[in-house]
Symmetry: D4
Subunit: 167 residues, 8 copies
């Protein structure tokens, strides 16, 4: 079966962060392909990846990069598939550079940008699943349950707090 | 026929900007419902909107708001549909506030954030169409042509420039 | 006796910080209820909390959250009680995101915003007490003494410095 | 009858902005005294104002200032009344300076900070009324109606939009 | 004769700004080719441009772009010619986005970044000439005179000021 | 008689702003010499100016510059006279660049930095007078009166406001 | 003999930083008085300090504070002595708050602002000495030698580097 | 043989960072001279360095500095050789100060600015080599291979990832 999600990171050092994304996809049982490519160091590889993305069966692409994070934009320029961008805080400017480089795309070529860092990596996975759930009612059901689980976890934590005598 | 796109803006003053979004949807012949609701001034209306979004047939929601732009996040909290956020630069802080309020969503509840202002409003429409094109080959074809048109427009402008003697 | 202060934090990880707030309330002998709820992960719980806040006897609400910190704004939207917001620096953007998300509320729905982090958590408690002291002369007296104590502590530290021979 | 709200602005040029605050207080029928004083140019006047604020019957103070906006903090240092700060965007740095100068108060002396500019000026009035409504059920009723009015206005605007054929 | 400078701008609206660059090149009598291409809207055209740049005889490339300004980086990825980037302030974020997107290039693929806006456009031209002057003593002489002229213009202005009685 | 204050601006376009400085010096009857010199365009002239500043009888130097505002730092490097810097908001980055370039001087070579723009230009004059007043009791008296005048002007404005019925 | 320099810090935790300032004054053999006072926690003490500063023989005041750093401005408001401000990076916002709160003083009441943190603390001492050297030729001589020493230290370090074979 | 590259850093503490630059030059077998000089502490030395740079045979200058990083600009003012600037994040403001001080050069005197920190230091070396390769086909060949190596390294890392079972 074809894997619906293609994930690209710009550097080996982004691997721990992207684990947040793949954990979500594993949880939902959705296949993905994870690779490394750089907009600047391996441009041909990046462009080929983007151009072939649809043929390989990908339906959504997730891209994480730091600093002048062009990777998501460069991929979005070469495919009509939805591209989700994760700005990574890997330079001294703490993610302000990767956030602005990812989100401020010019009219015509959108990148759906997530939060800087860990939360964004996790949400990239969830957003991809939300897109897939539009045409797959099983995934949709799981997503509805996932959101309920999020709410329940909050209640559990609040109850723990209560038991510890905070009210 | 049901309209697949629900658009919500936080204030009447956001209407000129959201025209960039609806122009795109009109171009692709995709139906949408545009309304005004505020996360803070009309919270119940906003929550009801989000809760009923799927039943009304919406598949993707587009949300534009300025300042402490909570609207997209509040709607994303109440639906599992993909939510696209447009940060609007309507406060003295020029969009830095709406950008950070929209994009920095905590792990669990993503908002797909576009660029601040006009470019973002246009791209929200395009990204919504990209999602819909995953399950509609006619829209997909149009999107492929749209991207080709973008490239052709650049060539036309470059040729005009050449004719004016810039090279 | 009813507890006049309701405190909500968005995440378990905010507990050490909120200790700064509860220490102040304990010092003034003012009852409070502390719970966890998320604007995005448990929206219904959050809204119910806000709607029932007055019935439960709360007079002031204190809300701490990080990143795209919508929690205080979402609660303020559902109650006419005064809401005090503490921006927490829990994302890579160091609190610029939570500060702007908390303070830049649109006209109509204020959140009284405190400093980012520890100082803000402490001040949220003090500000709540200042509000309560408007209708309780015993608390007011204590607050006047507290402010005098702050001044005296400065003198003690200055005198220590002098004794160490800095002048 | 004594006026419960004292308003201080740092400069004559802040008068148009503070109209947003006084409009709200006029709407709620709450008396206020508006004056000009500067933390830096007229420090004695400012300190005397703060020290006598309670004797004059003020219950809440609202302070608007721009640039290195020390005014609210200086007043908060001299009174135990709740102080609400409005950061004004009157320097080339567009309000980032007044926002940080107003909100980043050290532990011990809070200033309840509102949004930069117009929205903040309006909300300062509303927050002051919310505090007063804790001990005045007539004001409280008005405040509840005011919040309902905010929601209704949104509905009216949304209906206008619908009538114009946006859905 | 082959033109040694290739100039690319991302959008027609950048034409007035790039006049600052071409004025400098005209002054030094250095040939250039000016065209429009977009990293995102016409990626193939952009990549082809970069790949053929050397064959066409270009020795230095000058690239101006706004918002998430990927254009200079994308071109630098496909050529070993020196690439000079001009960040353009065309979005609501006033050039902070284009500056960070242009300058924060990852290790391996530099873009020589100039100031945001007009000064940067002018300096891109001067820097290109400085590079060419390394292997062309006539251009070098002109550049030495140009720098002397800059200094003389300051003296003329200072003298004018003196004559007007400022000292 | 020798003029005690030397003023240098980096560009002709800074003249209207520096009027704020010279107005203050005129008011205090203190002589000054105003000239234009650029750290980058006329470095020799700037260095000579700084080196000869003391011989010419200057006791304090005031320097205004925009963008990467090196002028004050370059002058401070060549003289032991106190140097006051005015960051000017003349680039698209609104003074954040000139402020940081002026104030963030490394240990060893201070520049006494004033606010960005008009307020800073005025304060540069006042601060220079404060320094001179340390060794001239007539200037000191005038400065004491000036500060009293500032306070009185606030009272006049407050009284005008009162007469217009704001209290 | 009277001490010419008064130093005030807002908090005990600023002591290590202010050592950079007192080291400079010790090096130049200039007497100083170091104390703690807070603009917000001990306002009366702060104001009394500023009012009596001249009578106590101080000629220059050095003030260090963090967060919403009002201390230098509040002191400057109550004295006509020159006030030097050191912004301290003690909040999560890394000194952007203390820098803007210290430097953006309104027209009329200057604070001579130094760099954030250590470099600024050292430079505050140097700038104070530069002011004193205007009326004391012995200090002036020392300052001239100090600046020569700075240059020599650079040469020593460069020579060390050379000996290690870097050229 | 003359060394074509002159490298200047403002402080001994910048040595580890500049290793990124010299590693690149060593890799390409290009000679360089590395020294320390400060725009502010040793201005004469800095100016002499810049003035003699061409006579010494340097063709490109690389300059690294932190905080109010004037060093590159001061050197660029005194030579017509191309100057490459590396902003170093050595102050509490994390490189925003050195970036803006380096890049925002006024029209007339460019500094080719690289990324803040390590990536920028590495790229300064590469950019210098790119300039030299314009007139040296051996270096050019090496540069073309270097860029191919960058791309190959990405492939190796991607393959490693694949072998570990990520797809």
């Amino acid at each position: 079966m074809k894997k619906p999600i293609g994930i690209v990171i710009g550097s080996e050092s982004d691997l721990p962060l992207i684990k947040e994304t793949t954990n979500i996809l594993d949880f939902f049982g959705i296949g993905y392909d994870l690779t490394i490519s750089s907009a600047h160091r391996s441009p041909k590889r990046t462009i080929d990846y983007a151009k072939n993305a649809q043929k390989r069966g990908f339906r959504v692409l997730i891209v994480g990069a730091g600093a002048a994070a062009h990777l998501a934009g460069v991929i979005a320029a070469e495919t009509h598939l939805p591209v989700i961008g994760i700005p990574i805080d890997s330079s001294p400017l703490q993610g302000f550079d990767s956030l602005l480089s990812t989100v401020q795309m010019p009219g015509g070529v959108p990148v759906a940008t997530m939060a800087v860092g860990k939360a964004g990596a996790r949400n990239a996975g969830i957003f991809a699943v939300q897109i897939l759930s539009l045409s797959d009612s099983k995934i949709e059901e799981k997503m509805i349950k996932y959101k309920q689980k999020l709410a329940k976890e909050v209640v559990v934590k609040a109850n723990n707090l209560k038991r510890q005598g905070n009210s």
